[in-house]
Every structure is written in structure tokens, then in C-alpha cells.
Amino acid sequence: MNITSILAIYKFEMDRMWRTLAQSIASPVISTCLYFVVFGSAIGSRIESVEGIEYGAFIVPGLVMLSVLTQSVSNASFGIYFPRFSGTIYEVLSAPISFFEIVLGYVGAAATKSLIIGSIILLTANFFVPLEVQHPLTMIFFLVLTCITFSLFGFIIGVWADGFEQLQIIPLLIITPLTFLGGSFYSLSMLPPIWQKISMLNPVVYLISGFRWSFYGHADVSLTISFAMIAFFLITCILIIRWIFKTGYRIKS
């Protein structure tokens, strides 16, 4: 394993985050604060509780997931797309490093950024609502696994994208709607039965449900199914990336 090379890519990507601090960290934190103000205080004051949990506290896991999913995808996709766009990818591809090591560097950095943002949002939420985490290890496990999985997904998008527009399409048109409709701001039990069934087709439901369980012990779907779903998504992403590097899809001609 070429640790120096992996760390070089990882550090390069992390440095980019520190250079663009406002965009990388401040922006998602401010957005989350706004969600708290609008949904937690303004609307939340009219909803007493959901499944016995104060509404403001109920939405915290969903908000963390919303940021983590979008940030993981955005960071990882941009991380690999930009060198492709600028042509600097030649340097990485001609270096004595394996594809696995390249992915480790890029995805590791993207997942770390998301993890930092997720943690900051949790800390910020603590100022607005009383937070409790009943199963901290499960919470950390879910958070880390989600960061890695969606960073891998972002990496795939970054390789697939042929322009900045395509780079934005998946986070804006797929990830964000799925997260909003995945129970970030409500419990599935609040929906009419038909919509409850339709929601089960949304993979993000399982992530938010499992993550919320680690906080309050309440879940819309079984924890085992949540784990199985994220594991399935993780393995699918790994297999796609393996295929990308095996064939050189959009990276090598």
C-alpha cells in the first residue's frame, strides 16, 4: 500500500476544504440553522411532538443526514471531476498508485469533510434543542458508513459527469428530494398508508430511520433492514467503481 501517495491526495483535497472554508463548512451550517429556525421554531412550535419526541429534536437526525448526503456527493464528485476537467488528472493516473489507492485518497477526504460537517451540525443543533443519543456507537457507525457510501457514490458521479451541470443534477434533483421525502422532517406514520408504502421505495428512508433510531430508539423501519440497505448501496458503489477503473470508463481512453 502506497501510504505516502494516498496521503498526498487526501491532504490535497482537505487543503481545498480549508481554502474554501466559507463554502465548505459555513454554508451547510448556516443552512441547517435556518432549517432549525423555520422548521424547528416557527413550524415546530405548532407540533407538540412526534412519537413522543419534541419536534425540534426529532428533525435533527434528518437534518444531519440531509447535509451529510449532499455534501458527501458534492465533495467527492467535485474532487475527481475537477482534475478531469482541468486535465491535472494525468498526474494521478501516471503515478505509481493503484486505483484502489486513488479512491482511498479522494473518497477518504470527501468522507472526512462530510463527517466534520455532520459533527458540526450536531453541535450546532445542541444549541437549539436538547439532544440525546441513546446508542452513540450505532450513531457513529451509521454516520461514518453513510459518509463513505455517499462519497463513493459522489466519486461515481464525478467520473460520469461531462460538465458542471451534470455534476449538480444528481445532488439537486435526486439526493435532496429523496432526503426531504425520506422522513427528515416527519415520521412515516404521519403519512397516509399509500404514501407510507411508496416511501418504502426511497432508499434514504432506511438511512434516516436507522440514524434516528440511534438517537431516540424510534425507527420507521427495522434497524436490520436499514443496515442491509446501506451495506447494499456501499457494495454496489464499490462494484461500480471497480468496473470504472477496470475499463477506464471516462478516465482512460
Binding site: S86, G87, T88, Y90, E91, S94, A95, S98, K252
Partner: protein
């Protein structure tokens, strides 16, 4: 053993375009090899395939005995690449960019070495400047610094002096010679024949994806070099006299006769031509001979 061995290398793109066709080439350690060819001849594809940026369709490439597909880590560790395009990150400093390249190759930090490379390339005073603040020539030199940062044994320079001024071009030639003195093998592609003429030990000509010729520069020029004799006449003449038709002369502006001959032939008929001119009473004031340049040879080869 050659430091680079290419055997039966072909590259056919998805659309069916053949970029490289059965290339066989050996590069000797420590030589400067110039690859010449017109636009789209396959120069960059060949370099990119050797460096691992393009997947070959068939054939094999060995770098210092290591196959560039099955032992790609060992093979690539020998290679430094300076691509044709100025592809750099704009927002980081020169030093960070060069250090990043070194780390990518798994080499430990060595600020002293990085600074020495930057000094050789007259970039030391710019080490903390952001790349976006550099001029085009400086960026080009920085690309070379990045390629040299991991101390490669083979350096690929793809059109190294494209768009740089004469002074910078000459300083790059100096650098290339210095690198060769330190044992680095250099493979360069260029459009500037004078660059190949100035630097190369051997010349390879590629056209339509095929290596047309590989030859020592000196022997290539000797073998294919034509000489031209120009006779400046004292008085203008309207046409070449019939008696001189046997010599395939050309008349320019009525005052200059040119005679092309093969330098290698024992009888180049110059004496005979001069005798004929005297016989016909054609007076001349000067005689000049000129050797074909590499450019002229190259044009002939890719016709």
C-alpha cells in the same frame, strides 16, 4: 538492455480510428530521443500509452524491464511526464504543487531537492506564489519541475517549448543537456525541427500512427541530407540554356541558379557544371552550398 522497449504496440479507439499501428521501438539509457511527426501522427498517444494514460489495444511496453500493465507501479516510478497542455491547479503555491507531485510518487518530503529543482528552473523566487500568478513560461517550467520532483530516470517532454520565447527555449535546452549528463533518458516530441537538431541523439519519425524511421541524427542527416549549390550570376538570364538541361537546374529571379546533388555520391558533377558555365560564357560572382536541414528531411519523409 534498453530502458524502454515497445513491441508491436497498437491503439485502436472505439470509433475504429487507429492511432498507433504496430510500433516497435527501443530507447537506450541516457539518450535524448526526439519523436517528430505532423499533427495527429500519434506522438502524444504513444507517450500517453507508455505513461499509463491510454490503454493499449495490443502489444507490450517495458520500462527498465517492468511491464507497464502488469508491473505498472515499478514501471511508472521511472517516468516523469511533462504534458503538452498547461494543466495546473491555479490556487496552490508552486512549492506545494511540486511537493504534491513528489508525494504522489510515494517519495518522502525533500524541501532541499524541491528548492534545488526550482532554482535550476529559475522559479525559486516564485516558490510561494500561487500558480495563477505565474506567466505561461513560468507555468511551463513549473510543469517540468513537477515531473522532475520524484527524480525520474526517463523524462517525457511533450512539446516542451511550444509557445515559449527564444530565451526560455534555449534555457530549456540547457536543462535537458544537464539532465542527460546526470543520466536521465529524455524523450521529447516537438514540432520545432531545430529543437531536435539541437538536442537529439536519435530521431524517430512517426506518421499516421506508424514509426516511419528511427535513426541516429548525424547519420540521418548524412544519409538523407541533400546539398544544394547556388550560383549567383553576374548578369541576368531569361531562361536556362538548353546545354544545361542535363543538370536539372532551377533559375530564381534570373540571377540565381540552384543545383541539387547527393553529397554521398562520388561524382556530384559540380566540376562538370562549372566547366559548362565557362564554356557557355556564363559569368558568376559567387558560389554557395547548403546542407538540407532536418526539417526538409522530415517534410520529405512524411510526404
Amino acid at each position: 538492455m534498453p530502458i524502454l522497449q515497445i513491441k508491436n504496440l497498437s491503439k485502436v479507439y472505439k470509433g475504429g480510428f487507429t492511432a498507433l499501428k504496430d510500433i516497435n521501438l527501443d530507447i537506450k539509457q541516457g539518450e535524448i530521443f526526439a519523436l517528430l511527426g505532423p499533427n495527429g501522427a500519434g506522438k502524444t498517444t504513444l507517450i500517453s500509452t507508455i505513461c499509463g494514460l491510454v490503454n493499449p489495444t495490443s502489444g507490450s511496453i517495458k520500462v527498465a524491464g517492468h511491464d507497464n500493465l502488469t508491473e505498472y507501479k515499478d514501471a511508472r516510478s521511472y517516468i516523469g511526464l511533462v504534458p503538452q497542455e498547461l494543466t495546473t491547479d491555479a490556487f496552490i503555491s508552486v512549492r506545494d504543487a511540486v511537493s504534491f507531485s513528489r508525494a504522489l510518487f510515494g517519495k518522502k518530503k525533500d524541501q532541499q531537492l524541491i528548492e534545488s529543482i526550482l532554482k535550476d528552473l529559475s522559479l525559486l523566487d516564485k516558490k510561494d506564489s500561487r500558480i495563477m500568478a505565474l506567466s505561461g513560461g513560468m507555468k511551463r517550467r513549473m510543469m517540468i519541475a513537477k515531473a522532475l520532483s520524484h527524480e525520474p530516470k526517463i523524462l517525457f517532454l511533450d512539446e516542451p517549448t511550444a509557445g515559449v520565447d527564444v530565451k526560455l527555449r534555449e534555457s530549456m535546452w540547457e536543462l535537458v543537456h544537464k539532465l542527460r549528463e546526470n543520466g536521465v533518458t529524455i524523450i521529447l516530441t516537438t514540432h520545432y525541427i531545430e529543437e531536435a537538431e539541437e538536442m537529439a541523439d536519435r530521431i524517430g519519425v512517426i506518421n499516421k500512427g506508424q514509426i516511419v524511421l528511427v535513426e541516429e541524427k548525424k547519420s540521418l542527416m548524412k544519409k538523407l541530407g541533400k546539398k544544394e549549390l547556388t550560383i549567383d550570376l553576374k548578369e541576368s538570364m531569361p531562361d536556362i540554356p538548353e546545354e544545361l538541361n542535363d543538370f536539372s537546374l532551377k533559375l530564381h529571379s534570373g540571377l540565381h541558379l540552384t543545383y541539387s546533388y547527393d553529397d554521398q555520391k562520388e561524382d556530384n558533377r559540380i566540376g562538370e557544371l562549372i566547366g559548362k558555365l565557362s564554356e557557355l560564357g556564363i559569368e558568376y560572382k559567387d558560389l554557395k552550398t547548403k546542407q538540407s536541414s532536418l526539417e526538409e528531411i522530415f517534410v520529405e519523409l512524411v510526404k
